[in-house]
Amino acid sequence: MKRSVSVLVGCVVAAWSVVAFADKPAPPLKGKAPPPEVAPEKSKTVETKSPFDYSELGKRDAAIEKEIAKVHERCLSDPMSREGPTPEETAKCNVAVSKLLVRGSKAAPSILAALNRVDDASSYYAVNRLLFVVGKMDDKKVRKAVVDGLETVTKEEKEDLYMIAYQLPGTLESMLGAAPPVSVPWDDTSVTDHWEEQRNQAEAWGAFIEANAKKTRAQIVGEHLGKARKDKASSDAAAAWRAINFLVQRSPTEALAAANAYLKRDGLESDVSSGFEMLKNQAEWLIEERKGHRG
């Protein structure tokens, strides 16, 4: 088996926007979701603060909410697709996402308000992209609002919101540049129901954010990068795997070299070897992908 895992999904790699297929009623049936129904003007009077309480993040903005509506309108991909968004769907969506990205943390209240209105009729791809934008925000208050939202969702166990809950750890990892320790692929952890798994994630993220409350993303990344470089050749396979896993997104060339070096070690268990093979594949793809962007 390629990976015998119960990995903490959202934590696997930074910037992973994850859509679940397996452990829940699937996300909406069609990608053609309407934009949030509440118009900006009207929405001021019917604000919902759950699961995301954005009251500490400033005011919502009508112009930004129009851009969010564009994301809902343009970021469409059938969640039952096996392949995921096509290049055409991605390109169409990216135009809308780019506009929202330049707003920075100012977009947070409006985006979180929009996510509060998500239900089964919403497009998973639009939600995925909105969370991608949130993931780019290096803002301590936004972090707190997001992790509190994750905690709320996992307590309430609303299936309509599982689509969000499943992706939030990836969003948080993108925001902070690092994640709490993840399970390694060869862990023999018992599988639980999907909400319990998410609650465990929420707890781990709550502690992680508290421990890093005063640090910027750059500081957090710097610390973890140093540790990863120290551990990448550790004789403790789990420590080495976590270190290389961290390096994959930040420094894929370095990660690839480290994974290859580890794979040359004698006597690796096949499960362990598969885990490092997976990291090697990820690093190779990212190296190729970056060449493409530069080319």
Binding site: A14, L29, M80, E83, P87, S98, D193, E196
Partner: protein
């Protein structure tokens, strides 16, 4: 026991055995072809009608044709659930395996649709009829031996392939799972094309490729033990039994659903545990971080299925809201081809479609005896 509707068994077409030869799919029709998982497009004679060509085999090999007819290989294209999925993504990537008798660059004609994965798919190479060994049939036709037909190579092209835009990321991983198992030296055909004896006493391989249509085969794939854990817990452990790959395998949406209920002395359901699902999970990974709006690709992010034999067990915990020590616990492990929402969307009656792999009843914990 719920029985799968034969009309809705599309995914098993990807799970059953022999599909095509391991010839390079693009080898004969030019370099502009997309990379396909399947044996198509094939080098058929100009103007050959797939249905007529296949019918020529069926006419003489009636017993084998009867097995194949109604199999998921034959219904690879026509199966209603496949058609629902194909409507979402009508791409050459799917056609390669689901209509291998047609050129995958175009929508298949009626003949190729009707044949699905047919006799000719595996047994015709160009104008030559092939089998597992050389056979001379004077006055009929010759059979050229191709040993690959008896090996996993015959299955590989449609049962092991990557996401089309994520090289190195398997959408289906069955052959790799098999290779990593303790049964890697046992051919797929051993289980999925078992030996049968004809009326005339001739031994040959079955061509019904039954998997999901054979609940007994599915049930034999895994052994399950369940026991009480702490007061509110049911611990379930699953291990591959008569299976040569992870379980479930094949299509990315297949899963096992573990359910449990606590019953009072009258058999009334008092509590229901939250179900646990054993499956592959996928995510859309963003690409280069420095790019403002990176591309994404789909990858597997977790795999909680039952590992292939020789690769350990899978443990799961089902939790009840309260203590079950004074209650019976009834548990079920069910094989499902997709989650409930997808089943509803595809008009699949999940309750009828699933296969119960194992079930059991754990009696209440006896009250401790009090010493006089």
């Amino acid at each position: 026991m719920p029985r799968p509707s034969a009309a809705l068994l599309f995914f098993a077409a990807l799970m059953a055995a022999i599909v095509g030869l391991s010839v390079s799919p693009a080898a004969t029709l030019g370099s502009d072809l997309p990379e396909l998982p399947g044996p198509a497009p094939r080098a058929r004679s100009e103007g050959q009608d797939p249905a007529a060509a296949n019918a020529a085999c069926e006419a003489c090999h009636e017993d084998i044709a009867a097995e194949w007819r109604g199999s998921l290989h034959q219904e690879a294209w026509t199966d209603p659930v496949f058609q629902k999925a194909y409507a979402i993504e009508p791409v050459a990537f799917c056609r390669g395996c689901h209509a291998p008798e047609a050129d995958a660059r175009e929508a298949p004609g009626a003949g190729a649709q009707q044949v699905g994965v047919g006799c000719t798919t595996c047994h015709q190479q160009g104008d030559t009829i092939v089998g597992t060994k050389d056979v001379s049939l004077p006055g009929v036709h010759a059979v050229r031996g191709d040993a690959r037909l008896a090996t996993k190579q015959a299955c590989a092209s449609c049962h092991q392939f990557d996401f089309p835009r994520s090289k190195g990321e398997p959408m289906q991983d069955t052959l790799a799972e098999h290779a990593s198992s303790s049964l890697s030296d046992v051919a797929c055909q051993t289980c999925h094309m078992p030996e049968v004896v004809d009326e005339d006493g001739r031994r040959r391989r079955s061509h019904d490729f039954s998997v999901i249509s054979n609940p007994e085969l599915i049930k034999s794939a895994v052994s399950v033990t369940a026991a009480r854990g702490q007061d509110t817990e049911l611990l379930v452990e699953l291990e591959g039994a008569r299976v040569g790959h992870a379980f479930p395998t094949g299509d990315m949406f297949r899963r096992l659903e573990l359910r449990a209920e606590a019953l009072d002395a009258e058999g009334n359901v008092v509590m229901t545990a939250k179900p646990v699902h054993l499956a592959r999970r996928f995510g859309d990974v963003s690409g280069a971080a420095e790019h403002p709006v990176p591309t994404t690709r789909r990858v597997e992010v977790a795999d909680t299925r039952v590992p292939p034999p020789g690769r350990g067990t899978r443990k799961a915990v089902l939790r009840f809201a309260g203590s079950t020590s004074r209650l019976s616990v009834r548990w079920v492990v069910a094989y499902q081809r997709m989650d409930h929402a997808m089943a509803a969307s595809f008009s699949v009656d999940q309750a009828r479609d699933e296969i119960v792999v194992a079930r059991g009843l754990i009696p209440p914990t006896p009250k401790p005896k009090v010493s006089p």
